[in-house]
């Protein structure tokens, strides 16, 4: 088995308010995996993502990165994050938004080409000069994905990125994301509360318990690629969803559906 890219050991997070968001979270993410963190709202999965991203510090436990000395964080740009909102700079054009990570991490060499390539990858080549407010919600999310990919990160973290979008747009972005994952081989950790989305996208589904969050089930999702609309309506998809939904209900202490 390959060395994990990232290992969380006994990670806990308690907020100043006393809320215990995470407790004893153990998780190893291997290179090339597409891990879905699945759980109900408020189960601490977003907190887990923020801890991995280095935007929140764990109250206990450790994070170990492959290739980094103990306790050290990966260099800026090795991680890409897509938040729940696109969080674009409204005063900057699409290409300026996508260029931001390169500018902040001083990667000026070949920046124009990288920005163009990232935009092409999400199908927004002709919108480089548009401003965020001129785009639809789905297009803004594509810009956010292009921005996260522009530094060619080893790990892409996504926090319910498509939750606010309509179903048609969500399905399109699911497919675009699978395409990118297949082409670039980037490791992805994808937070979601949708069983269907987890089964459609992930190669591995980690089900989390609520209050406090810890791993309840770890399910390999080895349905073959490429996955497309036919997979989404197949009996196999339904069967896998049933298995995962049962694990989720179990994690929430409810009878299986």
């Amino acid at each position: 088995m390959t060395t994990p890219l990232l290992t969380l050991t006994g990670v806990g997070k308690t907020f100043a308010s006393g809320t215990r968001a995470l407790e004893g979270l153990d998780l190893a993410v291997r290179p090339g995996e597409f891990v879905a963190l699945l759980g109900p709202s408020g189960c601490g999965k977003s907190t887990a993502l923020r801890v991995i991203a280095g935007l929140a510090s764990p109250s206990e436990g450790t994070l170990a990165w492959d290739g980094c000395a103990g306790g050290e964080k990966p260099a800026p740009g090795r991680l890409g994050v897509v938040f729940q909102d696109p969080t674009l700079m409204p005063w900057a054009s699409v290409s300026q938004n996508v260029r931001l990570p390169l500018a902040l991490t001083h990667r000026t060499a070949g920046a124009d080409e990288r920005v163009a390539a990232a935009l092409a990858r999400v199908g927004l080549k002709s919108f480089a000069d548009a401003y965020p407010r001129e785009l639809s919600g789905g297009m803004r999310m594509r810009v956010a994905i292009a921005r996260a990919l522009v530094t060619e990160p080893a790990l892409l973290l996504m926090d319910e990125p498509f939750a606010a979008l309509d179903e048609i747009t969500r399905f399109k972005l699911d497919n675009a994301l699978l395409d990118i994952w297949a082409t670039l081989g980037t490791t992805v950790v994808f937070v979601t509360h949708s069983v269907f989305e987890a089964v459609y996208l992930a190669s591995r589904i980690v089900v989390m318990t609520p209050h406090p969050g810890r791993v309840a089930a770890d399910i390999a999702n080895d349905a073959p690629h490429p996955r497309d609309e036919r997979f989404r309506t197949s009996a196999e998809f339904a069967a896998r969803c049933r298995t995962v939904a049962a694990a989720l209900a179990d994690a929430m202490g409810e009878p299986p559906p």
Binding site: P76, V81, F83, T87, M89, P101, L104, R133
Partner: protein, 288 residues
């Protein structure tokens, strides 16, 4: 290609984006015409009535000068009045510019240090709430007259810039702050790429308020100085003409003062529009 060049030679954006959001480039002529013509018609009618009243009742100019006489005075005294207009505009503009630089700098320091803000903010408020007309004589006592006038313009314009910029710097999207944290952004990059652009709409709103106030500050100080016998701004011309019962020149100077206010407001509105037109809700027209 440098970023500046690519911006100036920007090709038109894809039409679908523009159409989808109902953006339009400029209001139609049919909508502008009434907004320009109606006030002008009202002005014409008002001036005609004024002229008629003066003629019919044969009022002497020191009681009420006819509009035609005001225009004549404006032309006859143009060298004197235009010189004064320039002095007043210059004072107001310089006061505004200093207030913009000082207010923005202090707001940035406030955003960096809560301690400094807690220490100094009360005094900024006191500076604002003390009527400038009462401060002017004291300033004239200690400072040479042109400097005292400038100080008055600066004092009243300073606070709106400070208050609005402080608010703007605090209103940065937390998601974007996370993003800048993620990429280990330097303080400098944060300030210039995130905080100042995010604060820009609030800063420009503050600047618009400050623009009107800086003119008031300059006028107040000129009036105060004028009574002391020196000065050459428009407000001084008004005071001086008042002593001489030269009412046509008073009205002519007042007219130019209004014009100065309009010029400042229009200039600042143009700056705000040019800066925000591509991205901020306040500067974008919607189609209904």
């Amino acid at each position: 290609m440098s970023p500046t060049v690519s911006r100036t030679v920007r090709r038109p954006e894809p039409p679908s984006a523009r159409a989808a959001n109902g953006l339009r480039d400029r209001p139609k002529l049919g909508e502008i015409a009434p907004r320009v013509l109606l006030p002008l018609t009202a002005l014409g009618l008002g001036l005609a009535a004024w002229e008629a009243v003066v003629k019919v009742f044969a009022l002497p100019p020191y009681e009420l000068p006819a509009p035609s006489l005001v225009v004549e005075t404006l032309i006859a005294d143009r060298a004197l009045l235009l010189g004064s207009l320039l002095v007043t505009l210059e004072t107001a503009a310089l006061g505004l510019a200093l207030a913009f630089v000082g207010g923005t700098a202090l707001a940035i320091l406030f955003a960096r240090s809560r301690l400094l803000e807690a220490t100094l903010y009360p005094y900024a408020v006191i500076l604002q709430v003390t009527p400038v007309v009462a401060v002017a004589p004291l300033l004239l006592l200690y400072l040479p007259q042109p400097l005292a006038v400038l100080a008055c313009a600066w004092i009243v314009a300073f606070f709106p810039v400070l208050a609005n910029t402080t608010l703007g710097l605090r209103s940065v999207d937390h998601g974007l702050v996370d993003l800048f944290d993620l990429y280990g952004a330097s303080r400098r990059a944060r300030l210039f790429r995130l905080e100042l652009p995010a604060a820009l709409p609030a800063m420009l709103a503050g600047l618009k308020i400050a623009g009107g106030l800086s003119l008031i500050g300059a006028v107040v100080a000129e009036i105060a100085a004028g009574s002391a016998g020196a000065g050459s701004g428009l407000a001084y011309r008004i005071a001086e003409s008042g002593y001489r019962l030269n009412v046509p020149r008073m009205v002519a100077a007042l007219l130019l003062l209004s014009l100065a206010g309009v010029v400042i407001q229009a200039g600042l509105s143009l700056v705000a529009w040019l800066t925000l037109r591509r991205w901020h809700e306040s500067a974008i027209a919607r189609e209904r």
